[in-house]
Symmetry: C2
């Protein structure tokens, strides 16, 4: 998983993978079927282990807290000192050769599925009166996901956690301004 994370789908050779796994090539093929299947399993594991914060975020009581948790936890996730910086879903392959286009498409649709889930959560907030009726859950979810993706790209470039956190707070201000979200009682961290 970390090899794919660090080097992308195409940049990770089967030799790199087997070396990191401590097994031989035939064992990899016996256990996983092939490089692409292994990648899909790695992405699934990544989603469960390294993006578990999304579940916690969605469970927050208010839309503001959902988004705040998402943005702040994302910053932490993409800058863990013991893991590759960035996000597997981005690093994995935003662009690749035509023969591996399905991999890029798979990652893209995974990300958009997450965006859809966030939009659903925000729509619920509108229905509950937590967000005003004029708020656009789909557009807001898109904005939030765009910020998380940008942060992943930035993190991969080596930008520090604290620097990304500042940007997350600005994004949160944008979410509040554009959504009219009710703010939680304790003050937020202004930049």
């Amino acid at each position: 998983m970390e090899v794919f994370w660090r080097q992308g789908y195409e940049g990770a050779s089967v030799n790199d993978l087997t070396e990191a796994m401590g097994i031989n090539k035939p064992s990899l093929y016996a256990a996983y079927g092939g490089k692409e299947e292994l990648f899909r399993k790695a992405v699934a594991r990544y989603a469960e282990r390294d993006m578990g914060y999304a579940r916690d975020a969605f469970a927050q009581p208010s839309a503001y807290e959902v988004v705040a948790t998402l943005l702040r936890e994302n910053v932490i996730a993409v800058t863990r000192p013991d893991k590759p910086h960035g996000c597997l879903s981005i690093q994995g392959g935003v662009a690749c050769s035509t023969e591996n286009a399905p991999v890029a498409g798979f990652l893209a649709s995974s990300r958009l599925a997450g965006e859809g889930a966030l939009a659903d959560r925000l729509a619920r907030a509108v229905a509950e009166g937590d967000l005003p009726a004029h708020a656009d859950p789909i557009a807001l979810a898109r904005f939030v996901m765009i910020v998380t993706e940008g942060q992943a790209v930035h993190a991969a470039a080596g930008v520090s956690r604290e620097d990304l956190r500042q940007a997350a707070e600005i994004a949160l201000a944008g979410f509040s301004a554009a959504s009219g979200a009710r703010l939680p009682e304790r003050a937020t961290d202004p930049v």
Copy 2:
């Protein structure tokens, strides 16, 4: 340039490139020296041709208009119907094999250089009183660049221009809220 843009540095084979250029492999090597040199020239050409809007944006009279132009033109640039969707600087390679790490590093530092230029422009706005003294040019520039990068990733996933435009307006609201920027006279486009 477009082959690199669409397939990334590693995903674009020399065969793909020569085919698109209508020349033979030895001609490519005679003219450019190698794949990596060709890529760097492609990036330079891209910066000049497809990111020229940045110069126009920096020339805007107010910080708000600088950022608004940057965000809105970026949306247009990453969703041109006759070009690959996304941004060469991102697609080119956010992650790649260890042997091509210099390419990814080169792209990352190019992007951060753009961020630095924007920070300088915003610092000027603070000095001129266009932005309040408490505004943080570096953090604001980082936020704007993060949004443009996220939009490039989103565009590469096939999200439409109009959808990205909505997100840009939300980001702009965030910039205004966090910077305390004076708004231009004509009303902005609320989401």
